[in-house]
């Protein structure tokens, strides 16, 4: 731990409430470039809230605390500005946008976010390559965004966007849910390829994704706080022992 770290995200003393109910109650988190962090916790512990707050969901109110993203005050940024600054959220429940074709949508998104302007041809080549990595059929492109997609298709669509948009920080909210073993493997490979040069925050219930996407640091979240931080072995402990032993400590 002697090499110089480049800080991507610094969350300090974060308090968040939604409709008057406090969900996050003093959370600290630092993610550096090239690190994979995992946050584990039960339903309702505030994991997804954290993901949504980082991306800027308007329903959440930050009552206290600070978030710095690449040295800037993140709270000054709108959702699209966060995306342009290099933040990406893979949604737990991606929204359907009827009438908007996947192909057009991806192209517009890449041109909104990417610094490099791709020609139509260059984009097609890139798209073809990434789709083939995820074993996504070409017919996907003319379908409407997430409209009538199966759970697995939605998750692949999220990872396809992750690969195309090249974020600096990728937040993956329950990306493993609804995926079979083969799909999980493809998706993990996708995440790992991005993680080589970006920071990753993997939010999950289960250990099985973490066997394929190896975290450097694991955090356990209970009742709106990180109660324990450790190495990959912590995920295995939780898998074996559950969360109760941590709760006592909290």
């Amino acid at each position: 731990m002697t090499t110089k770290k480049v800080s991507l995200l610094e969350v300090s003393n974060l308090h968040v409430s939604v409709e008057g109910t406090q969900i996050i109650k003093g959370l600290d988190l630092v993610i550096n470039l090239g690190e994979i962090h995992a946050i584990m916790g039960r339903n309702g512990s505030g994991k997804s809230t954290l993901a949504n707050v980082l991306m800027g969901h308007p329903a959440y109110e930050i009552t206290k605390g600070e978030i710095q993203f690449i040295g800037k005050d993140l709270l000054e940024y709108s959702v699209d500005e966060r995306a342009k600054a290099g933040m990406f959220l893979s949604f737990q429940y991606p929204m359907a946008i009827p009438g908007v074709q996947v192909g057009n949508f991806l192209r517009k998104s890449v041109s909104a976010i990417s610094d490099v302007k791709l020609s139509a041809k260059e984009f097609r080549i890139l798209l073809k390559e990434k789709m083939s990595d995820l074993e996504i059929d070409k017919s996907f492109l003319s379908r409407y965004v997430n409209d009538g997609f199966s759970g697995g298709e939605k998750k692949r669509m999220e990872i396809l966007q992750l690969l195309l948009l090249n974020p600096k920080l990728a937040i993956l909210d329950e990306t493993d849910s609804g995926l079979d073993v083969d799909a999980l493997k493809l998706v993990s490979e996708g995440i790992n390829s991005v993680a080589k040069y970006a920071g990753c925050l993997v939010i999950t219930h289960y250990q099985r994704l973490l066997e394929l996407v190896k975290p450097d640091i694991v955090h356990i979240m209970i009742d709106g706080k990180i109660v324990k931080t450790g190495g990959p072995e912590l995920a295995i402990d939780v898998e074996n022992k559950g969360y109760d032993w941590l709760e006592v400590k909290a």
């Binding site: 699209d80 995306a83 074709q101 057009n104 909104a112």
Partner: protein
Amino acid sequence: MKENTNPEDIVSEYKYGFSDTEKSVIRFDNGLSEQVVRDISELKNEPNWMTELRVKAYHHFLERPMPKWGNEEMLNNIDFEAITYFLKSSDKTEKNWDDVPEEIKNTFDRLGIPEAEQKWLGGVTAQYESEAVYHSIREDLESQGVIFLDMDSGLREHEELVKKYFCTVVPYTDNKFSALNTAVWSGGSFIYVPKGVHVEMPVQAYFRINAKNMGQFERTLIIADEGSSINYVEGCTAPAYSTESLHSAVVELIAHDDAKIRYSTVQNWSNNVYNLVTKRGVAYKNSTIEWIDGNIGSKLTMKYPAVILKGQGSHAEVISVAYASEGMHQDAGSKIHHLASNTTSNILSKSISKNGGRSSYRGLVQVSKKANNCKSNVICDALLLDEESQSDTYPTMEVSNSSFDIQHEASVAKVSEEQLFYLMSRGHSEQEAMSMVVNGFFEPFTRELPMEYAVELNRLLEIEMEGSIG
């Protein structure tokens, strides 16, 4: 994959709401009388039967009460005395683009017509202040024997055809506004497609209202003879004016056995225009009539494209969208009359209301006693962009035959915060996100349009979404 939802690639600049200085050769005073009706007819050198038809229609218009439905309050605000019923801006109908007056060309230039023409048009009639000033027919159309003229020329050059069909689908006694149109009509298109001829390219016309208080009463008649087909497209971009304008057109379609007519419209009237249009087609054996109808602007639109399925096995398709913003009421829908057996119809109606605008779906599906094994599928979807806006539906069914199979679905939705959040997380501003949702909602309509119209419509909606985010 269709590319027509990528407007940036095709149009770099879109402008509307401009108008040239009025330059009228002949202009009648405001107001209507039998004499004005006779003068219009005389000036056009019309045959006697047309003059008398106009006069009869005029008297019917006077006697006919205002409709008691739609939006009565707005209808009763129309001041018929404040409207000019005839205006002629150019002496003769032009065929050659070079001869079109410069000022008028400038207007079309900004609408992007000349360029579009090179690529797409099968022939153009551009209605400019009541009468066609530019009318080109591609040689291939002429050589196939297709007649494509402005209505006035159609009457002059093909009187017998016009006399045979004029007012047969929409009689002047149909409603107050069809009576008014029949009395004072001017311009519009006349098309005849001979037996077995298929017009591959969409045939297009642009209409604009460009003079203060100018009423537009164009009259369109399309006849597709046996086994023929045609795809007709009209579009409007009206300059904004502060005084009320009236647009009251009549469109009659006749699809003979095995023929197919598609009639597509995108209208963007400025928000002071009353758009009260009667559109109806009659479909004979195994023929198809399709209305693709987009209503984006106007103060009040009352329009219900109709199809009379008169021949066995005939089919009707109506796909319509309406967009109502502040102070606007779109009262639109469709009417289908199943008069013969094995006839089928599909109605898809989509509306968006914003800033307190109101959209109404008003539809009628009618099945006569002798019409066996008919099918109809009706879908109405409404999208509300805010709390103040309104959407209502008035579906009517009159079924006298028990073998009728009908599906009806209706939905009202709101743009969700979650959808906008999702799109914004992919780098799109709130306004872009809203445009995407709105354009997506209209996509089942837009994809039916020729590309340049789809582009214009998408662009228009993007402009409409400007300033819609609080």
